[in-house]
């Protein structure tokens, strides 16, 4: 674990050096640039022939509608799942959720757990929790498996090992599992299939995430390409699904639209190979499927986000990753630089609630507010507006709308606050502004050539010898 390069709470404070290291790493730059270029073009093609705006409007409305009835839907989901024979658990935070999973495992005397991809379990840091208690937790999604072999964390929420190229993966698999070195992806994939099939057969418990939970029918939907999600939820005798409380929707009809948006936004697929809809454990007469199914509903800060009308939009997210695929910052620095479970734009607006704004103070500002994320978001989360809101929270910058996110104000420094006060005074006093700018222009030759970080990469902008104000005054006189 000493080599771990993914999220730990303190890593996110090191955002600047981590980002810089990534930028200076040509391999990371190349891997991400080419991957993101490919994903952007796939997404574009996947929506051709669709009225994308209408579909995104529907996606947004579905999520807003679900959130508007969230407590009712959760209760309905719980009742329906219970009726179907699924046991439902509730966890305030990651620690509680881990404890619940552990209790289930221990009650079954489980020694080994096989996992399907679940970002909530990453949020919980479940693997380390179980391993520390002598339960092997093995990832089965190929990307997650690779990342786990490397003692890393995912660098992308959909494509966890996107930071590695084939050569690196081949070397890693050779070193850790003894496969031959090869640049043949088919061969590497087949080797992983072999290794993991043994584990599926032996696993005592399967743990998966959930893409959508349907309240009306008590159905857990799981979207995947590899079939590891099916394996995880079908082969072991016990299946535990973990999910955030915001994933519930009223009906299967809601799922149809979100599914159309999710897979196209994520990887440009019309649909994934498998869409699993799990509504209960094996019935007595059935010959396979888990005897026990559990759902762990995890809050972990979400009900806090839920309180605020603007921040609430964060909870619409369906975890497609399109925002990171289109983010010029993510493309430059990759997922690990963020030091958080969720990287990229969604990470910047979600992680402050999970870790606090003091811990994540560098994230909301790490955006040029270019708006590419908001433009592609399938559920129309106004990500740039939320970034601006969190910047305000970071510096307690709005007395009319007091900050409320945990750790707010942690970025406020007297010097900077004074600078903005001065800026405000000058710009709210037009006469002073005109005098000051005229004076600066007059002495423009004295302007400094070095302006901190700006001039590390660029020349300093040159003040004109006369301002527009002056030019117009002269012209009109």
């Amino acid at each position: 674990m000493s080599q771990q390069t993914g999220a730990s709470p303190s890593d996110v404070r090191q955002f600047h050096p981590r980002a810089r290291a990534a930028i200076e790493n040509p391999k990371i730059r190349r891997n991400f640039r080419s991957a993101m270029d490919g994903l952007m073009s796939k997404r574009r093609n996947a929506f051709s022939g669709w009225d994308l705006e209408a579909l995104r409007d529907l996606g947004a409305a579905i999520r807003q509608n679900a959130l508007a009835q969230l407590p009712d839907l959760l209760e309905q989901l719980e009742a329906k799942l219970t009726e179907n024979g699924v046991r439902v658990h509730w966890a305030e935070d990651g620690e509680q959720a881990c404890r619940i999973v552990l209790d289930i495992c221990q009650a079954r005397k489980a020694r080994s757990v096989i996992k399907g991809k679940s970002m909530v379990s990453e949020e919980m840091d479940l693997n380390h929790y179980l391993e520390a208690r002598d339960i092997e937790a093995l990832e089965s999604d190929l990307g997650e498996y690779i990342v786990q072999l490397a003692h890393e964390t995912p660098s992308h929420i959909i494509m966890p090992a996107i930071h590695k190229n084939t050569g690196e993966i081949s070397e890693l698999m050779h070193e850790k599992t003894g496969t031959e070195r090869s640049d043949d992806v088919e061969y590497l994939t087949a080797s992983a299939r072999q290794q993991l099939r043994e584990k599926f057969m032996a696993a005592d418990v399967g743990i998966s995430g959930v893409n959508f939970a349907v309240a009306q029918t008590g159905t857990l939907c799981l979207v995947e390409n590899e079939g590891n999600g099916r394996m995880t939820t079908t082969v072991p005798p016990c299946h535990i699904a973990v999910t955030g409380i915001e994933k519930v929707v009223p009906t299967l009809e809601d799922v149809t639209a979100l599914l159309a948006l999710l897979t196209r936004s994520a990887t440009g697929q019309h649909i994934t190979t498998y869409v699993n809809m799990i509504s209960g454990p094996r019935k007595t007469e059935e010959l396979d499927g888990p005897e026990e199914v559990h759902l762990v509903l995890v809050d972990n800060g979400r009900s806090g986000i839920y309180q605020d009308d603007q921040l609430l939009d964060t909870l619409r997210c369906i975890r497609c990753g399109a925002c990171m695929n289109h983010c010029p910052v993510y493309t430059r620095i990759g997922g690990h630089a963020y030091g958080t479970t969720y990287p990229g734009p969604i990470g910047k607006i979600l992680m402050p609630h999970l870790l606090g704004l003091d811990e994540t103070r560098h994230l909301p500002s790490a955006s040029s507010l270019c708006g590419a994320c908001g433009e592609v978001c399938p559920v129309k989360i106004p990500i740039p507006d939320l970034l601006v809101r969190l910047r305000q929270e970071s510096v307690n910058g709005d007395q009319l709308h007091p900050a409320r996110v945990r750790g707010h104000g942690s970025k406020r420094h007297a010097g900077e606050a004074l600078a903005w006060k001065t800026w405000q005074w000058v710009h709210a006093h037009p006469a002073a502004y005109r005098m000051g700018t005229a004076l600066a222009s007059r002495f423009n030759r004295l302007q400094p050539g070095k302006l901190g970080a700006w001039t590390r990469f660029r020349t300093a902008p040159r003040l004109a010898s006369k301002t527009l104000h002056q030019r117009l005054k002269e012209r009109d006189s």
Partner: protein, 259 residues
Amino acid sequence: MADTIKLYPPKPDKVYFYGTCLIDLFYPDAGMAGIQLLEREGIEVVFPEDQTCCGQPAWTSGYHDEARKVARSQLSLFPEDWPIVVPSGSCGGMMRKHYPQLFRDTPEAPLAAEVAGRVWELTDFLLNVCHIKLKDLGSPATVAMHTSCSARRELGLAETGPRLLAQLEQVTLAEQVRPEECCGFGGTFAVRHGDISGAMVAEKVEALTDSGASTFVTTDCGCLMNISGYAEKNRKPLQGQHILSFLWERTGDKPEGSS
């Protein structure tokens, strides 16, 4: 993100011109060009003397109290119901999209909404309100275009600049890779996250020079100083110009570059 349907007003007799602080201090030529283009369309241009800054730098930095105080001082500058034209997608976006957010829960909210509704980015205004017809007097030239993210996404103006350039008979618009990608300016972002911004502008300059053009034009001064500043410091063969300066130079009385 341009989520409200735009209803263009009929061509007015008068407009307010909101010059923006960057143009005022660094690119007054672009401001003059914009005013002259409007005047040539027969529009009287009113320049409220007490204009300073729209407040955007403080807004995006999270200092909303300060942004509001500055913006409040600007709200009263446009008493007549004339359109307010702004030679910047970024400042135009601030006033059109974010003033209503900034003045939420304040007595000025109705005024802010009313002002916001009258704000037009200048190239949009020339094309879609003035229905400008440009007569190119310059010699053949190839240019690349960088549309700012705020013009492109906040205001939905991705096509506006290219359509104006297309009116210039002697001008060829060079194609670039990833035209929609941000140049890395982002206001204080360029300083707070200098490494990331530097990596972004480096790739933007590469895309623009690879287009084959040695000149690029843009709707926004922030992008302009970012991209040109990088090209200059790193001795890349790329010159930048505000699109308004370029349009005026090629179509004004004494166009530069004409033989």
